[in-house]
Amino acid sequence: MSNSILEGAAAAGPARSAAATTTAATTTVMSMQQALNRALDEVLAENPQAVIFGEDCGRLGGVFRITDGLQAKHGEQRVFDTPLAESGILGMSVGLAMAGFHPIPEVQFDGFAYPAINQIVCQIARMNYRSRGTMPMPITLRVPSFGGIRAPEHHGESLEALFAHVPGLKVVSPSNPHEAYHLLKYAATRPDPVIFMEPKSRYWQKGDVDLAHCDADGGDPTGAKVMREGRHLTLVAWGAMVARCLQVAELAAEDGIDIEVLDLRWLKPIDAEALAASVRKTRRAVVVHEAPLTSGLGAEVAQLITQSCFDTLKAPVERVTGFDVPYPSGDLEDEYIPNIDRILFGIQRVLEYKRG
């Protein structure tokens, strides 16, 4: 996973150029922001029906610059600003989809998806069903998500449990630039609505991106992905927590504990088989997420693991998550988001579990 060889090339690299430039050397270093930007650029180039819109997406390029330069390149018809109203943005997406477009709306921050929940749950998620498959909703909703950037209130929410519970939605979250590039390109070409949750604390982290294919098998990036193999315990995570879990695994390795890190990637549908395969081997699991504990997606993951691995499990699946409290301000963020220590404590509880 050495980035250094290509680092120089990437600095002057083609992060904002169009899709057609795939060369023999398909691996490059990008930040997640660059990878997402490039994916959108290519989607616009490849699909004339794709349109991007939202608050400040156009001229400004989005508050996180994910749509940077896209309006200038593809025109104001393809990439445009809307008035400041999230229900309006998502409601409009339904109509655009009916008119044959592939809308790629943005909600500026996770916490501002709530005003659009009615349109997302009652309309976008159900229209294919309601219309008996005659009105597909190929809508890719980008939501800068999760915490970790010391942001103002409502700028650090984790809505995956809510979205994953809604029939008719698919939900995905990338953990690094490589995943971001591929998962966004994949999501934005699907005929069904996909909520694309971008871990905003990782936007500026760089990493290798192999533009040619996402997974080793070259197939569609549809399931979970083992980011680190291990024998003693499976850490399940998504979004920004994957990198943290990889750090934890490194630390644990120093103590001779060999941890497998599974990037769930798709939060709906969840790859139950990957969970089973990993935990059948490791016999222990900890699931980590930023969202509050109660009724979080960790419960679903834990229950799926317990269902498939009940006989092999050495200890109940442990959850290390945010607390059942409003997302806090400033320094308290470090207490709220699962930190390395808390994840290690969770691992310890599982490893030390004794049947009584």
């Binding site: 349109v51 018809q77 809307t82 008035p83 109203a85 229900s87 309006g88 998502l90 409601g91 409009m92 997406s93 339904v94 109509g95 655009l96 989809a97 009916m98 008119a99 044959g100 477009f101 809308p103 009615n118 349109q119 009652c122 309309q123 229209m127 294919n128 069903y129 309601r130 219309s131 008996r132 498959g133 005659t134 009105m135 597909p136 029939p167 008719g168 698919k170 699907r190 005929p191 069904d192 709906k268 549908p269 969840i270 139950a272 088989e273």
Partner: protein, 348 residues
């Protein structure tokens, strides 16, 4: 309240006698089907229904202006008259009241009528998005497809309506917002719902032309809607029409209006029956005679019978559709649930 520039209303020739008779036939067909549906409900043929008694002129008149080769219509749960006027398969439409399928069994893309919408104000924004899509797609002949979206006086209170009006006006989207102000939102009268008293009056605040019209005069409705369509079609942006009418029946078959309005109030509020008004006018103008009216009614009855037969013949939908119609691309989890469901229901 007529703030629609007259110039832009050009091209709308007066309705021909044949068209006027057609409108009457449609209104009779709708009236007959509507009142029959209440009877169906009483007879246990359908579990529920939301009648549109008294709104036939507003619905038939507005639906009549639609060009189904290029426009698209976004109904609520009460636009049976619009569906009928647009030529939608009425068994497929009424199936929603049989509880066969939420949204109806008709094909919305082919019918140009979006699925029946149970969320108040739910589809108003969809109309704006669809209309903006017409602008983005462009037009060879300078004539845009127009989105016609329906909502009620009650729905006008929803935030989504405001967002839709603003989006449409900012983007100059070809939308006609057609408000049926029927005086009531279930038990709440317009005066305690619509501050200022008029939905049409809201349009000016968005720089949008508006027409407040007699929604019980079918000719006035056709003419207003045509003017609005011409305006939007030419790329001049959205128009709002507020058709003043009256919900003569209960909100739905499970509502009891006696709890919130008296029969006297109903009689005063409703005014003259739009169907009877139109009949008198056709008679007075010598456009139709009793024979024609009798024929129209007979046709309406025959039609109702056919629809009723179709509705009665409708079975339940197969359970597999629950799983198969969720996505275009199904998921392993859903397939597993479907398999599990199949297994458990076959055991039984």
């Amino acid at each position: 309240m007529d703030t629609l520039p007259v110039a832009s209303g050009a091209g709308a020739e007066p309705l021909t006698p044949a068209q006027l008779r057609e409108l009457y036939s449609l209104m009779v067909a709708v009236r007959h089907l509507d009142t029959s549906a209440i009877a169906w409900q009483r007879q246990g043929i359908i579990p529920g229904y939301a009648p549109e008694l008294g709104q036939e002129a507003a619905q038939v008149g507005s639906g009549y202006a639609v060009d189904t080769t290029r426009d698209f219509v976004f109904p609520t749960y009460r636009e049976m008259g619009v569906a009928r006027t647009m030529g939608v398969d009425m068994v497929a439409y009424m199936s929603t009241h049989k509880a066969t399928w939420h949204g109806g069994l008709y094909n919305p893309m082919e019918s140009r009528l979006a699925p029946i919408q149970a969320v108040v104000a739910g589809s108003v924004l969809h109309a704006v998005g669809w209309a903006h899509g017409q602008t983005l797609a462009g037009t060879a002949d300078g004539k845009l497809g127009v989105a016609l979206t329906y909502f009620g006086d009650g729905a006008s209170s929803q935030g989504d309506v405001h967002e839709a009006l603003n989006f449409a006006a900012v983007m100059k989207a070809p939308v006609v917002f057609f408000v049926q102000n029927n005086g009531w939102a279930i038990s709440v009268p317009t005066e305690r719902q619509v501050a200022g008293g008029s939905v049409a009056a809201r349009a000016a605040g968005y720089g949008m032309p508006a027409l407040q019209i007699d929604g019980d005069d079918v000719v006035a409705v056709v003419e207003a809607t045509r003017r609005a369509f011409a305006h939007a079609r030419a790329g001049n942006g959205p128009v709002l029409i507020e058709a003043m009418t009256y919900r003569r029946g209960p909100h739905s078959t499970s509502d009891d209006p006696g709890r919130y309005r008296s029969l006297d109030e109903e009689r005063d509020g409703a005014g003259a029956d739009p169907l009877e008004r139109f009949r008198q006018r056709l008679l007075a103008d010598g456009i139709a005679d009793e024979a024609f009216f009798a024929e129209a009614l007979a046709a309406a009855k025959a039609e109702e019978e056919q629809i009723r037969t179709g509705i009665q013949a409708l079975g339940s939908r197969p359970g597999t559709e629950m799983f198969d119609l969720v996505f275009q691309e199904t998921t392993p989890a859903l397939q597993a649930q479907a398999a599990n469901w199949r297994e458990e229901s076959e055991h039984v």
